[in-house]
Amino acid sequence: MRGRGVHLVLMAPACLFVFAFVIAPIGIALIDSFSNEGTWTLGNYVHVLTEPPYPRVLLNTLVIATLTTLLSMAVAFPAAVFVASRSGRAVGIVVSLLAITLSISVLVKIFAWQVLLARNGLINGALLGAGIITDPLLMLYTRASVVVAMVQIMAPYACLLMIAGMRRIDRDLMTAARTLGARSLRLFRDVYWSQVRFCVVMTTLIIFIGSSGFFVAPALVGGPGEIMLGMKMQSDLVNQYESGLAATTGILLTAFLLAVTFIALRLSGRSFRNVAEELAR
Amino acid sequence: MTTPALALEGVTKQYGASVALKPFDLTIAPGEFVTLLGPSGSGKTTVLGIAAGTLVPDAGRVLSHGKDVTRQPTHLRNVGMVFQRYTLFPNMSVADNVAFPLKVRKEPARVIAEKVAHYLDLVGLLPLADRYPSQVSGGQAQRVALARALVFEPALLLMDEPLAAIDRRLRQMLQEEIRRIQRRTRVPTLYVTHDQDEAMHMSDRIVIIRDGEMAANGTPQDLYWTPPSVWAAEFLGDANVRHVELAAPPEGRACAVRDAAGRRLSGTLHPSACPKGRLALVVRPEDCVVRRQPEPDAWPGRVVDVSFRGATQEVWVELEDGWTIRASMRAREDIHPGSAIHVGWPAAAAVIVGAQG
């Protein structure tokens, strides 16, 4: 086992997989988005940015993804801070329960919300049965139901990612700062926050990227007004074989996410290289 | 002359822009125990890798019993290796670890059983044959590794700081044991270490390497009593060093020199020293003699410090011109800081070497 040949053989399958199913599709989508019936054109972009329903779909995606990200982080951050500062059996139990929840199919989770929130679902049934309401409430197929379902799916990710990141911070630094007489607020800002900031930014980014590309939840618990990109792309492709517009929305989404990532990293003073190193751990 | 068990001829190695090994020669005679001694980063590991076949030198040849093996991969070299980390296969018992090289060579089961028992007995671990690596101590693990490296009667044994991770007392025991086993099996051995004491205890011959070059080569006694350079003298132990110049043309080896204070000293010129160049005189503290009475070739001074070492004590004597000489003497000798005394040494004990390096 010597020489460059061996490296090539060992790395080739993995690299080819990623190339064929990540790089190539994005490349093809890029080409598709700039071409229409064999000619190069910006028509697809003009169409997507001006013709209904696309602008609305883009905006919806943005709003729902932002709401989901903010809520997921708000829900997960306190739990992550607390769990990361503890040790013992209970921590293991919380982390494993979160991990098990993560591994359960997204479809099952979405279906559970359908069962709970439907017009004839469990919550309406219980409320009607108890005589609290007389007409069933409309809960499913609203923006709120999409966001709640997506937060339920994303919060465990956010929590686990942040716990993993926060576990790596140097607790001795906190103790050292305390012995030097730092007060709580100062301690939090200067010592704790500076150490966990990068991990929180990364988590927020990952959750935002995940939420904006979400396909299943909005398709199954969102109303007709809550169409997100994924659904529109799927119906364009599968029903109309319209790959140009789907590719264009996909490229717009990718470009937007790249821009957000870049800005977030600039604001937190890190480079893509740091991200690569962070991801590699 | 017999064919050496291992010969490196002008091997070099470069990593990018940094030169790890300048043209380097090394021979190991059959049955010889050679220690490669050097500070960290001196190129020891590179030499070992080339000898083992895990590295291919950029230039030069590697000969094993006269056969060119420069480009032969490790598994064909027939070298036993012992590392600083124990590297026992955790999924195999002690006996299976030792049997591994024999099984790879498809030896008959009867031979395997015999040899495994013999070599485990040699390292004193026959009773632990059925244990797993996680159930034996560090010292025991290293003995298993040694048995495993010897069981296939390799053409060469390579040891890379095998005792560095082991605590001091046990390390001394294992030094004795490795030496005993090497003498019995007569396996040519290249032992790499940065520990001077270890090198001196164990070796037939020591090769000192520094910045990818051979800095000294000789028996432990030769290198200790007549070091080829100031650096080698200080690396191998404590030394009093004084810059000097020739006082008279050397007569054979014996030579008279003068230091900066004009003091006339005498010593033996080392063969590697160039009499025209800058010179230094080297004397081991053990050779310095401390007297209360004045004597010829002894200089008056004052004791500035005394440090108790058990069997001996170290005495620092400051001469009138400010030169501080370190002397080693019997601990029972009653001596205190402040005493006025005389210090000198037999002329044969002083070595004159080149002052460069």
């Binding site: 086992m1 061996v6 490296h7 060992l10 790395m11 993995a14 690299c15 199913f21 599709p25 994005i26 989508a29 739990a79 607390f82 769990v83 503890r86 919380v94 979160l98 991990a99 098990i100 929840t101 591994s103 199919s105 479809l107 099952v108 279906f111 559970a112 069962v115 439907a118 004839n120 679902g121 469990l122 049934g125 990952i206 590309g213 396909f215 299943v216 199954l220 994924g230 799927q234 492709l237 599968v238 790959s243 789907a246 996909g250 490229i251 991200v275 690569a276 991801l279 | 991969p73 490790t74 598994h75 590297t87 296969f89 999924n91 591994f100 090289p101 060579r105 996680s134 495993r148 490296a149």
Partner: protein, 265 residues
């Protein structure tokens, strides 16, 4: 109560609430699947296995499950094999560089709908839309980063000198792999395969965009069911799916503990 204790109680209460929010909705479905009425009831008025009988007696559901199973097996095996090769490179020839590792993690981060859209037009041109093989390979790519992460972590626990030691003892590379590396790595290989299997088994987006249509994969079929009105038979399927997932997850989670115990042997 003193302040640290109060903080502790508040913290754990918050964690329990969070776990409740992410777990209870799922748990509610299980009793519902054992009801018998045409409409969902909680708690169900009578216990019955009606929906399970209906689902398990339906050849279309079983065909979908069998297809999903085969695809997931292929994806798991290929992803584990490719991940294993990366891990060997990592162990044998020095660390795989962070940028390369980030590249291998791309399938995890890139939005799947974008990949699905690009793959759709690629497969359309290649006339492979609906091909189970194409879907299996695509899902394998999504599972690959998971296998890579698991196996790189696993080989980092193995001393790379074991390889040199084995070579010096006369072993060729395949002997080293077979006799030294695999015996110390097989539990992690199983973990990697389980995780990769689960990822492919649950994959929805690719399956819906360009998976087989006549007999869709289980998640794809479930997706189209869920787009319609709620049908209690889906509670049974969801419960079965969830059971499979949890069993796989528990198996994958308990193996590292086995490894640690093995180390103390």
């Amino acid at each position: 109560m003193n302040r640290p204790a109060l903080r502790s109680v508040a913290g754990w209460t918050y964690c329990v609430l969070l776990l409740g929010f992410v777990m209870v909705p799922i748990a509610v479905m299980i009793p519902a699947s054992f009801g018998s009425a045409e409409v969902l009831q909680f708690p169900p008025e009578s216990f019955s296995l009606r929906w399970y009988r209906e689902v398990l007696g339906d050849a279309r559901w079983l065909d979908s499950a069998w297809l999903s199973f085969r695809l997931a097996i292929v994806a798991a095996l290929l992803a584990t094999l490719a991940g294993f090769m990366v891990a060997i490179e990592h162990m044998r020839f020095g660390r795989v560089r962070p940028l390369m590792r980030a590249y291998l993690l791309l399938p995890l981060i890139a939005p799947h709908i974008v990949l699905a859209a690009g793959l759709f037009s690629m497969l359309l041109q290649a006339r492979l839309l609906g091909s189970p093989t194409a879907l299996a390979l695509a899902q394998c790519c999504l599972a690959l980063p998971l296998a890579v992460v698991v196996l790189i972590n696993a080989v980092e626990a193995i001393d790379p000198l074991l390889w040199t030691a084995a070579s010096s003892l006369g072993a060729r590379w395949w002997t080293v792999l077979l006799k030294v590396i695999l015996p110390n790595l097989w539990l992690s290989l199983i973990v990697a395969a389980l995780i990769a299997f689960n990822s492919a088994w649950d994959e929805v987006t690719f399956a819906v965009f360009f998976g087989p249509i006549q007999t869709p994969t289980l998640p794809s079929k479930m997706f189209s069911y869920l787009q319609e009105l709620i049908n209690p038979s889906v509670t049974a399927i969801a419960t079965l799916l969830m059971t499979v997932t949890i069993v796989l997850a528990l198996a994958a989670a308990s193996i590292p503990r086995l490894i640690r115990r093995g180390g103390r042997r």
